[in-house]
Amino acid sequence: MDNILFLSSFVFVPLLMLLGLWLARNINQVRGVMVAGSVALLALAVYLVFAFLDARAADPLSEMLFTGAVTWFEPLHIKYAVGVDGISVAMLLLSAIIVFTGTFASWQLKPLTKEYFLWFTLLSMGVFGFFITVDMFTMFMFYEIALIPMYLLIGVWGSGRKEYSAMKLTLMLMGGSAFLMCGIFGIFYGAGGQTMNIIDIANHTGGAHAIDFAQQCIWFPMAFVGFGVLGALFPFHTWSPDGHASAPTAVSMLHAGVLMKLGGYGCFRIAMYLLPDAANELGWIFLILTGISVVYGAFSACVQTDLKYINAYSSVSHCGLVLFAILMLNNTACTGAVLQMLSHGLMTALFFALIGMIYGRTHTRDIRELSGLMKIMPFLAVCYVIAGLANLGLPGLSGFIAEMTIFVGSFENAETFYRVLTIAACSSIVITAVYILRLVGKILYGTCENEHHLALTDATWDERFSVICLILAVAGLGMAPLWVSDMITTGVAPVVEHIQNASHVVSQSNPFL
């Protein structure tokens, strides 16, 4: 019971924040509630990391720690079940950091500040809830809670073609969850219809039995595509550039930084973990699709002229790498995938925060109209360079660690099929360098051609604070990755082992093997 209360506080704190926001009478109270809440969440997440490391040292065998369950819908075997492993602890920490910095990034936001933070908090409640549960029903519920606020956040507070983007994003993601719901039903009834608990279904305990192979082959694509839509899987990624470009700054941060990770996490935890035979059999199809995402996203980013579009396509490429790595199905690659989630979450949030700040001053995101910003706003420009370098994988920053681990892991698979794909995906690093360096050169250096921009000011204290927090996290992850990656490996290893030990390991349908 203590475990449930402890982990559920990740949901209760946002609930209290919602209540506080509802009662708040002026903007200072709203900000106060948000700061108090996000600090509490960050503190909780940090405390959870240490508590988890201690508990893991004491109990290296169980897959999930801090587990607990309360019956919710008894006739349908639905429980509110919580538990965390190394992966979800890392994700919770990431979410807490992004929510914390996102609060400061939207410090000056107007109008309807209160409503904005209400939906923002609801979104973060969905995200936190998603990572603490181990029951498919609650997981799906929190997943959907996280999706719908996006519509209003983009539609009301966004910019550009916001109505179109908001509708497109919502409908595509909800379309994905239609597939996902079918997949979840398939898994639940395929395993006997006795338990929704992920661990029980995977280990065939608690009344669950192994899911028939033919059935797995139907439900695996459904579940994978369902989560894959959110993870920007090609060809279902088209919501992402429009959505990110139209969203307000903090929403882009939260969405690219955390929400897209729900996709990768869900693919790994539900689609692959619960349907291991089909994951081995059909994984190759999705591996090719994600390979396309990685390279196509990078190339698309090269030809964009809007700062946010560049970053959005870059996200497609990097999130594609996450799915690519988990489909490689070995410990190193999967650890790399989770590291990439962390690293991409932090650096994309940093990127979007900076773009928002630049846009807030220049009122344009078109790179053809921007130049010489380094002299005008040195702080923002330097941070932008750091974010860019993290994005292209400079050693010492987080991107390098993650991509290195992924490619080393992918190359461990000896078959030609995997090797060719790995080499193709590696090319994305080069393309990333092309667009990042070109971009930095174009907008930051040179002389400023627009005299209106000469009078602009540098970052204010709240902006500096949120940016510095993110840079510290990016650099911290880049310089001392071991404690995180060890923690992640403890979570990844049982899942990968489970999939590798499935009864059906060699893919019969893959024509390239």
Binding site: F73, M141, F142, I145, G155, K162, T170, G175, F185
Partner: protein, 502 residues
Amino acid sequence: MDYSQFLSMQQEVSLLAVILLVFLADLFTCGRLERGEACALSEANGSTCGCRFRTFFPMVLLVLHTVLNLLPWCCEGCAQVCSGKEAFGGMYQSTPMMTIVKSVLNVGTVVVFLMAGNWLKRAENRIKENEFHLLVLFTLLGMYFMISSGHFLMFFIGLELASIPMTALVAYDKQRYESAEAGAKYILMALFSSALLLYGLSLIYGAAGTLYFDALPEKVSFSWLTVLGMLLFISGMGFKISLVPFHLWTADTYEGAPTVVTGYLSVISKGAAAFVLFTVLVKIFGAVDFVGVWNEAFFWLIIASITIANLFAIRQKNLKRFMAFSAISQAGYLVLGVMDGTAQGMTALVFYLLVYMAANLGAFAVMNVVEQNCGKIGLDDYDGLYQTNPKLAFLMTLCLFSLAGIPPFAGFFSKFFIFMAAFNAGHHLLVFIALVNTVISLYYYLLIVKAMYIKKSDAPIAAFRSDCGTRLALLICLAGVILFGLAGCIYSYIDSFSYGLK
């Protein structure tokens, strides 16, 4: 005659008592003709006591009736009789599940009464205020008999009792051309569907020689005659539930009827019909051969209802027509619970009904109060509602999200469970098509949300304070939309009775 039989019909008897009391109160409180003047006078004097009495008396009685029938002692006291509660030689049957459904309908009717207060106060309606309450209560009584019938004739009488006063309600604003037209359309369609249904019943009677529900299962053998009878029965009920292709009356009737009546029609009448359809099919046509046939029929009915209604809803500009198509597609989801006639399906259906009632009545309450205050009902009129009436817009948003199946609102749970039931019965393709359709439905529900929050308007709906009745109604609906899903015990409670059916 054994008068103790009436005791087993306690719900019907107590509702009848309510009707009589309302009727008597109407007779004796105020002279019919001078009533309007009296009210105007008393309002001018600052005391609205008499008027309040006439509005709240039926409501208080109905609440009392609901509570009395829900109280645990009622259930426990009759627990011995509960298992096989019958009266009049099997003409009347009652099970705990039926009691639950009746109570759900009661609560919905109370909400409708609360919504109606402001509308009934209008000058042209004052004179017939109590007729509204009486007519609604009569239809409710009809639904009670329909639900609890143990014989097809009893069922038919209940059905007619539920339809004919409904026509009067639809045409209640008789000075308005659309309302009168809607009434005419409704009565013609109701008669037509009753005729179809009666023809089906006569075929069944011809084949089996009895109309008692208890005797029928052994007597009906699988033949073209009985299958035709069953299909005619399904079509007749399809009119009531407004499934495609029997939905053509819906949009016009919903648009023309007074908004309060539309709300009543779309939830209470539809819900009762869906439940009866389920129970009758399971009781009488529960044999495997029949189940195969009605599954096939419902497969196409559901797909047609959900898809066509969703596509039509996208193009509507009038909110009431819009909600009509939304209600048709919701009916499609509701009937998903009927597939295979499982206990899980029945629980999911009743739960869906409960949640749908809260969400839909909430949306109608907002539409009604806006219409009463500003006379606006078009989709474009709602542009910028959040700027002027944030609370109403927010409540409307919650109700629409619930209808669209967005968590943490109750609609998500009810949709999830009803899909789960159909999936468990093996209808995977059907569930998938229905799920894809939820995305289309989300699109048009979001159109309203977009109008309220995102669009700007030159002439927005002016800010106003809604009346107490509407506020209370909205509060009940809000509580329902939030709590019905999160409180798992409600579903479990319904589930514990779902096999009390047979």
